[in-house]
């Protein structure tokens, strides 16, 4: 998505519920809290929303067409709603498409997830090829372990490095879900999927995110942040068909978003890294060195709800730009085994 003769897309409001380890509220109550915050931030009411794009996954919610649970609280009654079954960043990106297509002028993008309801990694086994992979008991966690193995091969210091990184990220967050631990404690924590230990994984919990997007004729108007580019990609499914030591899909997604691999203008990156080793994959694929701040708030290590992650990263970028901490930022979402699918959005100050 590049600039052109179509309307620019402004981020007019953001709202968040959680993440917390277990939210005692129902999914609609949680979503309503995020939506009300985003609408208030955009200074509009429900009647100011023309269209809605939601993101959720049925099996994880235990509900068919799981957006039926939130139709009212996202204001979609008698309005257009599109529901993407994937990471929350896709909801914002598709919402931006609707605006650029001229289908409407204000879109609400919403994502929710409630990992406290069920063992998340066990459910992900049902997203694996049921002929060749699922019968082996392979889930997303196993795939993350395989990917970490591929990276650690011939790299003796890898696990220590990841433990230190995870400790640093967790310490930077507000420890909403899991208390920070030292690298030594992380290295002594139980093995999740060798060589990954529990402390090397971002803690999963419950949360919802909402973002109000608005078509803007070409000036900054009342919204100081705009989406300058977006891209997404799906890799082959089987880990055996991929070079697990690289996120090629993210490279392609970044190129589609108009990012050069060594974009000097990026002042912030907010990746959706559920595991410490993924940060190295992200840096390599997006071409981000040590000079640009990455996950200054701890990223997903401060806790995340599955598939809300990407939209929460977009909100983190938007807030940093509003606060003047960055002028250009990269938000990233990922889903599928070992980073099979990626989405990115480039946000700019306006």
């Amino acid at each position: 998505m590049r600039a052109g003769d179509r309307p620019a897309v402004a981020i007019a409001g953001v709202g968040q519920a959680g993440p917390v380890a277990a939210d005692s509220r129902s999914i609609p109550e949680m979503v309503l809290a995020a939506v009300e915050e985003a609408l208030a931030d955009a200074a509009i009411g429900f009647d100011g929303v023309e269209a809605v794009v939601t993101a959720s996954v049925d099996l994880f919610d235990g509900l068919t067409a799981s957006n039926v649970a939130i139709t009212e609280v996202v204001g979609a009654v008698m309005r257009p709603e599109t529901r993407i079954a994937g990471d929350g960043l896709c909801a914002a990106i598709h919402g931006a498409c609707e605006l650029r297509a001229g289908a409407c002028e204000t879109v609400l993008a919403v994502a929710h997830g409630k990992a406290s309801m069920a063992p998340h990694w066990a459910l992900t086994e049902w997203a694996m090829d049921p002929v060749f992979l699922q019968p082996l008991g392979i889930d997303f966690l196993v795939c993350a372990g395989l990917q970490a193995c591929a990276l650690a091969q011939g790299d003796g210091g890898a696990t220590e490095r990841w433990a230190e990184l995870a400790a640093r990220r967790a310490a930077a967050g507000d420890a909403a879900i899991a208390p920070p631990r030292s690298a030594a404690e992380i290295l002594a924590s139980p093995v999740l999927a060798s060589p990954l230990r529990r402390g090397m994984a971002a803690p999963l919990g419950d949360g919802a995110c909402a973002v109000v997007l608005r078509a803007a004729a070409g000036g900054p108007g009342e919204a100081p942040v705009r989406i300058a580019g977006a891209g997404w990609d799906l890799e082959p499914h089987s880990p055996g068909e991929r070079d697990l030591a690289r996120w090629h899909g993210l490279e392609r997604a970044c190129a589609r978003a108009g990012l050069d691999r060594t974009d000097p203008g990026l002042e912030l990156a907010e990746p959706s890294c559920l595991f410490a080793h993924e940060e190295e994959l992200f840096r390599a694929a997006a071409g981000i060195g040590e000079e640009a701040p990455l996950s200054p708030g701890g990223g997903l290590f401060a806790g995340t709800a599955p598939h809300v992650a990407g939209l929460s990263r977009l909100i983190a970028c938007a807030r940093a730009i509003r606060d003047g901490a960055a002028r250009r930022a990269l938000a990233h979402g990922a889903w599928g085994p070992a980073g099979q699918a990626h989405a990115v959005a480039v946000l700019e100050a306006w």
Binding site: L63, A65, T71, P80, A85, A101, P130, D233
Partner: protein, 387 residues
């Protein structure tokens, strides 16, 4: 919205079991057919949109696995899942992504393999507090709302049976259809097993294994590649309250479809849909619903739908042929059913409908229906609109 067109369509043979193919293979069958129809190579496709109701097969994120069937590896790919409207909403999502200027060619594939799961269980996962015990699944909630529709509008079992017969006889001319019953009679429908009063077995749609694909093109790509693109003149979606008790006379008013169609007609410059439209492919999950949709879509006054089907107005030789394909009553792979509606409408504009072609069709309507009362309306034309 900048101009967007459909330049190719393709679908599988729909059947109660397609044990000969896996989900990715089923997707591939439809994808290859649509790409061949559009004369587009897999490498030329910029992006892929999939539509599927994964919980019917008891799976999560099936695009991760089945996406390869749609040549999605290495491409941007998203999946839309909104119950019965998944297919139409998936097509509309592709229209928007192309109109946004991101892509020139997008492949949409809707698919469902009901035989690998249990659809009733999937549909029973509605709100656990209010709806599950009362009206779970398609049949229970249709029986409730059809009873109300019949009581208020006076539609008869015979009129509903005429819809069922029309659908299955039309399907006999469609090589892809699941239920091809060229000799079906009203008496057979009326004497079929009662499922939930007043809905009988032959009033109801089947559940099918199948997939359907379309190729969506930007205006420039459509003009370059197609002699007769089916231009998207309007595309509207409306969602509705999730609790059936909250919707006033749901099937009677069907305010979502009514409003989506009203806006779509206005955008497409349609004054009187019955005379202006040449053909309609509407998502009728049960015979009685087609009658209710005639009224919501403005084909007739409220309460007059039975007459349309009695007089053959919506038959193949009538003023507005409805569902030449045989409709959802003849083939229903849920995630694909909406794509089938759009593809069949496009096929008519392309003039490639074979035995089910409506002579000279230039303006076509496709609709989607999902969950309890969600609706999509898409208008396609032989000429690009003044968007």
């Amino acid at each position: 919205m900048s101009a967007v067109a459909i330049i190719g369509t393709g679908q599988t043979r729909h059947a109660s079991r397609r044990d000969d193919v896996s989900q990715p293979e089923l997707v591939r069958e439809a994808a290859e057919a649509a790409l061949a129809d559009a004369a587009v190579g897999p490498d030329e496709v910029d992006a892929v949109l999939l539509a599927n109701m994964e919980l019917f097969e008891g799976r999560a994120l099936p695009e991760l696995w089945a996406g390869a069937g749609a040549f999605a590896a290495g491409k941007p790919c998203m999946k839309v899942a909104t119950g019965g409207t998944s297919g139409t909403s998936g097509c509309i999502a592709a229209f928007h992504q192309v109109a946004a200027g991101l892509f020139d060619l997008v492949l949409v594939v809707g698919f469902e393999k009901h035989s690998e799961g249990h659809s009733q269980t999937g549909m029973a996962l509605t709100d656990p507090f209010w709806d599950r015990a009362v009206a779970s699944g398609a049949l229970g909630n249709f029986a409730l709302s059809i009873s109300q529709y019949v009581a208020e509008r006076g539609a008869t079992a015979e009129q509903a049976a005429l819809v069922a017969v029309k659908a299955r006889r039309n399907a006999a001319r469609n090589p892809h259809a699941h239920l091809r019953m060229g000799d079906l009679t009203v008496e057979e429908v009326l004497s079929s097993r009662m499922l939930a009063d007043p809905v009988r077995l032959l009033d109801m749609c089947p559940q099918s294994d199948g997939a359907c694909a379309i190729v969506v093109a930007s205006a420039a790509a459509a003009r370059r590649r197609s002699r007769r693109p089916a231009w998207v003149l309007a595309a509207e979606t409306r969602h509705e309250q999730p609790y059936i008790g909250d919707i006033d006379r749901r099937l009677v008013t069907m305010r979502t479809l009514r409003d989506a169609a009203r806006v779509a007609y206005r955008r497409a410059g349609i004054g009187d849909p019955l005379t202006d439209l040449d053909v309609a492919e509407i998502y009728e999950p049960v015979s009685y619903a087609e009658l209710a949709w005639y009224e919501a879509l403005g084909f007739c006054a409220d309460g007059d739908a039975g007459r349309l089907v009695e007089e053959g107005v919506t038959g193949m030789e009538g003023e507005l042929p409805v569902n030449p394909s045989g409709g959802v009553l003849s083939s229903n792979p849920v995630g694909a059913s909406g794509v089938i509606r759009v593809a069949e409408a496009a096929l008519q504009i392309h003039g490639r409908g074979g035995e089910r072609q409506v002579e000279g069709a230039r303006l076509a309507l496709a609709t989607g229906y999902g969950v309890y009362a969600w609706a999509d309306a898409v208008v396609l034309g032989a000429e690009a609109g003044a968007t």
